[in-house]
């Protein structure tokens, strides 16, 4: 009797899950995002990230072209809800924060993310010195599982592509993850996954090495 209950409970669960999945698939194929609206809402972003989304180091704004829509959405939502970029020591994150507030609802966030995802990324210029790609390769063994052998990211693991990230931006993020400025909010699911990984990089030199390796993957 008890076993049967458990069994029926599980079969109910999996049936429900199957339904939910097919509904989501259906939903996502139906609700194509409004790219025109996305482009319109992207106007304000051009002030820092540029019309092509290539970023501007002077303003601490990284290249956002080349990131996938799901990651972009997550980040924008996180900012808006105070999950990312709301730490008192996150100076650059706090600059991005009010910008996320200009996206008034979930639909707008999705439209902008969809639009940014269509932008053509470029390999950014190297700005850091002293990184050793060979040493970095060993350290990257840890990262590989999530960010991929070519650093192209893994959507299923919510891990973004690092191929088009500015080196200065990656260094800043790794430091922020390590010190808990990013990824220590309990609601930051992705950040909480990434944070312990940043701990494997003992110091700034190790960070520069792994970044040099990521760049070598991107340039291949």
């Amino acid at each position: 009797m008890f076993q049967r209950m458990i069994f029926s409970y599980f079969s109910f669960r999996s049936a429900a899950a199957a339904c939910a999945i097919s509904l989501t698939l259906l939903g996502s194929s139906l609700s194509a995002q409004d790219l025109d609206n996305g482009k319109k809402m992207y106007q304000i972003c051009t002030a820092c990230h540029g019309a092509e989304g290539h970023g501007n180091q002077v303003l601490n704004a990284p290249q956002i072209a080349g990131l996938d829509a799901v990651y972009l959405e997550t980040q924008l939502r996180n900012w808006k809800e105070g999950i990312r970029g709301a730490h008192p020591d996150d100076t650059a994150g706090l600059q991005m924060r009010p910008m996320s507030m200009t996206l008034k609802d979930e639909e707008t966030i999705k439209d902008v993310a969809a639009y940014v995802a269509t932008l053509e990324a470029k390999i950014p210029e190297a700005t850091l010195e002293g990184g050793d790609a060979t040493k970095g390769q060993a350290a990257y063994a840890v990262c590989l599982a999530c960010h991929g052998p070519d650093a192209g990211g893994n959507a299923a693991l919510k891990s973004p592509s690092l191929r088009h990230q500015n080196d200065w931006y990656m260094l800043a993020q790794l430091k922020k993850f390590k010190s808990g400025i990013r990824g220590s909010n309990p609601k930051d699911v992705g950040g909480m996954q990434m944070r312990p990984m940043s701990m494997t990089l003992v110091d700034e030199q190790a960070m520069k090495d792994v970044i040099a390796h990521i760049r070598s993957l991107a340039e291949k």
């Binding site: 809800e81 105070g82 709301a86 008192p88 706090l94 924060r97």
Partner: protein, 233 residues
């Protein structure tokens, strides 16, 4: 007058409003009088058959008095205004009453960090509570605030306190206020500080000492595994 539109939540909000009212009514009085006389003269010296318009240079005594007398009267009114303004300015900006508590306010492009003393009641100690865009205060408590900027000029404005103070990078500017009303109100930046200037609003929460104590307990770093009181609180 103003309190009908915007509540008064600090001890000196009333003083500012009164000064504002005095200025307003003096301006209304002189503005109104000038208009009345202007229209009266327009009517009295309107076009008439056989009367030629004349050019008045305003140098004769009986003409000059129309300028001189109001001029002196305005100066007399100014004495009242200046006396009022100095006393209010002294009370709010020059005098620093002994504080019960001190809070830190750090402005940056485009956010406010508020640093509250923790359970020990002392600022700049381990248990300080930092928040973004949310200032938590206790009703009927005299506060000092220490303003600092991480980057450019900003201005700390709390309309319900009738308080506005510029923030200058590189300096620590101290001032005071005493909240007298529980509630939640706006904090604004009132110095153009870049593209996000209009997007740096914050809120002040004024509560009873008891509620504030609860808030401290919930938000003290380390107490509940919390590294900082995030913006979502």
């Amino acid at each position: 007058m103003i309190e009908a539109y915007l509540e008064r939540a600090s001890t000196y909000a009333g003083d500012i409003d009164n000064l504002f009212s005095v200025i307003f009514w003096i301006v209304v009085l002189w503005g109104g009088l000038a208009e009345i006389i202007l229209f009266y003269f327009c009517f009295r010296f309107r076009k008439k058959e056989g009367v030629k318009g004349q050019y008045i240079s305003g140098e004769e005594k009986h003409q000059k008095k129309w300028i001189a007398i109001p001029h002196y009267l305005v100066l007399v009114f100014d004495v009242f205004l200046i006396a009022g303004a100095i006393s209010v300015w002294y009370n709010i900006k020059q005098r620093l009453p002994e504080p019960d508590l001190t809070v830190g306010v750090v402005a940056q492009q485009w956010a406010w960090t508020f640093i509250h003393p923790g359970a020990d009641g002392v600022l700049h100690t381990e248990d300080d509570i930092k928040t973004i865009d949310k200032l938590h205060l206790i009703e009927n408590t005299t506060y000092h605030f220490e303003l600092e900027s991480k980057d450019v000029l900003h201005s700390f404005s709390v309309p319900v306190f009738r308080l506005k103070q510029d923030i200058i990078p590189g300096r620590k500017i101290t001032g005071w206020f005493k909240p007298i009303k529980k509630g939640e109100w706006d904090i604004q930046c009132t110095e153009i500080c870049g593209i996000g200037h209009g997007l740096m609003p914050a809120r002040v929460h004024i509560t009873s000492a008891y509620d504030h104590q609860q808030w401290i307990v919930q938000n003290t770093p380390g107490s509940s595994g919390q590294a900082y009181a995030s913006a979502s609180n």
